[in-house]
């Protein structure tokens, strides 16, 4: 509670001497049990995705037995629809899901933050036009927009990353705009304008640090969503293409053998489930900590 007294009751601005709000927020978030559990789950899955391939007993494309064989000595989780080792493919299959989802989220964040900041700062006309454009994108469920793009261009990975990024942007821009609109009219922005700071510096140096907390919450939410969407697109057959090892694609390939050899489906399904639950727990922990700071109150 000793720190709570130092926290201002208004949404934290950035006085030079105090710890930056983001640092304080991360510190507070870590005290939530759910954040720790979430971080644990995400670290486990990221560890499997990044380091897994080094420990894979077989090549992901090697045939080690008859299709859909159950677990055995040299294939702990049995074989897949073509007779490849499920365990090795599982260890290889996380990189694409994670990498594509991270790339898409990064694009969405950069686009969304840029649009949101410009909308808030330009106000009037610019604001209206930018936000209406975002509404149009929001009029589609993300997966529908992604599928329309795939239907025309074909299942290209750059396209998926781009489309998922574009559908992420409107939500990010709404959050950015919503929390920066009130800051734009504060005195310190007028002061920065008066001393002739360039616009880019005002947007990134003065406004952005003040909206970092809600953005952090939104970013974790968007990452959860991107992982789900990218995996779903691979599952539908429009994402990562065979013969690559990918969790989403594995589920699709091994679905027909579900009754005889469930591991080919269950392992990647559990991995995606744990990964999304983990990122979402972290986001919730940060959101709770952020709400606590804004109320100026205790830890919960």
């Amino acid at each position: 509670m000793s720190e709570a007294a130092a926290v201002p009751a208004t949404p934290a601005l950035v006085p030079a001497s105090q710890p930056r709000p983001v640092v304080l927020l991360l510190h507070r978030s870590w005290r939530q049990a759910r954040t720790k559990v979430g971080v644990g789950m995400v670290l486990l899955l990221v560890g499997i995705a990044v380091l897994g391939p080094f420990f894979a007993p077989h090549s992901p494309s090697a045939f080690v037995g008859a299709p859909f064989s159950g677990p055995m000595r040299h294939a702990w989780l049995g074989t897949d629809n073509l007779g490849r080792d499920v365990f090795s493919r599982f260890l290889w299959g996380g990189r694409s899901v994670l990498g594509l989802a991270l790339a898409a989220t990064a694009i969405g964040l950069v686009l969304g933050v840029t649009i949101g900041l410009f909308a808030a700062y330009s106000q009037a006309m610019g604001d209206d036009i930018l936000m209406r454009a975002m509404d149009v994108i929001l009029a589609f469920p993300s997966i529908v927009l992604a599928l329309v793009a795939v239907a025309t261009v074909g299942p290209q990975l750059w396209l998926l990353v781009l489309v998922v990024g574009i559908t992420t942007a409107p939500r990010v821009s709404r959050v950015t705009r919503g929390s920066s609109v009130e800051i734009v009219n504060r005195d310190f922005i007028a002061a920065a304008e008066a001393i002739g700071e360039p616009r880019r510096k005002i947007l990134l140096g003065e406004i952005l640090p003040n909206v970092a907390s809600p953005l952090l919450v939104e970013a974790s939410l968007r990452l959860t969503y991107s992982v789900g969407l990218i995996a779903a697109l691979s599952f539908l057959g429009f994402g990562v293409q065979p013969p690559a090892a990918d969790w989403g694609l594995m589920i699709n390939e091994n679905r027909q053998g579900l009754t005889v050899q469930p591991w080919g489906v269950v392992a990647p399904v559990l991995a995606i489930a744990l990964l999304t639950i983990g990122t979402s727990l972290i986001g919730d922990g940060v959101a709770r900590a952020s709400a606590g700071i804004e109320r100026g109150g205790g830890d919960e």
Binding site: R34, V144, A151, T224, A232, L258, T276, I277
Partner: protein, 322 residues
């Protein structure tokens, strides 16, 4: 004439909805123009012959400029002529007609179950705020909401359909001559998946709204009058807690429109979602366009309804418009 008050609001909201739909139609149309090179060749692929190319170009109206094509397509859309499916070689309306009913029934089932369920969960967790039960539900619902629908669907299939228990059919194939309500057992898993996808969000907002209501003075007053806690909660608090939740309910019903795409594919359920995935695989552009517009229209319509209903049920907003 400038309209004021509620009619004015509804008219303005309606116009905004129409504008959004118009822009959406441009986006959908423009996306299909992005085909690199000759669309007819891209669609036909290696089977292309000069004759089939010419026929398809005529069918897709490719011999005119993009603006004329768009105008014709929009006119068809408005008069109910959705074009001809390239894969089925039938009018699009015929291909998707019965599937709309199937998808509608699935979404209706999911909505009818998840809305009351979410309201009850929200009310009870708000009433027992900060109890073990509340915390447990919060983490549990968070976890369920985090998982993508296809993961939930497959976990349900493994749990109840194929591997752990074998009590429910793992696929929901419905013969084309039957209506889905003649096969309720096949409906259970797809419906349950959608219920799991939307209930957590609604109950979360309902809980937040109920927490505020339960702290209000009129609830205190009702308690002081000696009213039973049961009656205070269900008769006086819940109806007031629902109003701010309507927007989220509508948003989540709109979310179902996207959710059915993956869920129908997993269960092989013959609705528009599965048809959409098929059309994408087959490069069946007219069907893709029609279904994308249909889903977006549903989305816009539900959002519009939510805005109007929210205005109608909240006295404070209603008077502020006068």
């Amino acid at each position: 004439m400038v309209l004021h008050g509620i009619p004015g609001f509804i008219v303005r909201r309606l116009l905004l909805g129409l504008l959004t739909l118009f822009l959406v139609s441009i986006v959908v149309f423009a996306a299909t123009q992005a085909l690199p090179g000759d669309p007819a060749r891209a669609i036909l692929g290696r089977e292309a012959t000069p004759d089939s190319l010419r026929a398809l170009r005529a069918q897709l109206n490719l011999n005119h400029s993009a603006i004329v094509q768009y105008g014709d397509w929009l006119k068809g859309l408005l008069t109910g002529n959705l074009g001809t499916s390239l894969a089925a070689r039938q009018p699009v309306s015929q291909v998707i007609g019965r599937r709309i009913v199937n998808s509608g029934f699935l979404m209706l089932l999911a909505a009818v179950i998840s809305i009351p369920l979410a309201i009850v969960i929200g009310a009870v967790t708000a009433r027992r705020r900060d109890s073990k039960f509340d915390h447990g539900m919060s983490v549990g619902l968070l976890g369920l909401a985090a998982m993508p629908e296809f993961v939930v669907a497959i976990l349900l299939v493994v749990l109840l359909g194929t591997t752990v228990f074998q009590v429910l059919p793992p696929v929901s194939l419905i013969p084309p001559t039957d209506w889905p309500w003649q096969h309720m057992k096949e409906m259970v898993l797809p419906t349950l998946t959608l219920v799991i996808a939307v209930t957590p969000y609604i109950s979360r907002i309902m809980r937040a709204s109920m927490v505020e209501v339960l702290e209000s003075e009129y609830v205190e007053m009702a308690r002081l009058k000696g009213m039973s806690e049961h009656k205070v909660l269900w008769r006086h608090s819940v109806p007031n807690g629902i109003a701010p939740t309507i927007q989220v309910i509508a948003l989540n019903l709109a979310y179902l429109a996207g959710g059915i795409v993956v869920v129908e594919f997993v269960f092989g359920y013959p609705g528009i979602g599965a048809a959409f995935v098929d059309a994408v695989s087959n490069h069946d552009i007219p069907v893709v366009q029609a279904l994308a517009i249909l889903i977006a229209a549903l989305y816009v319509l539900l959002n519009l309804t939510a805005d109007v209903v929210t205005i109608l049920v909240s006295p404070r907003l209603r008077t502020s418009l006068k």
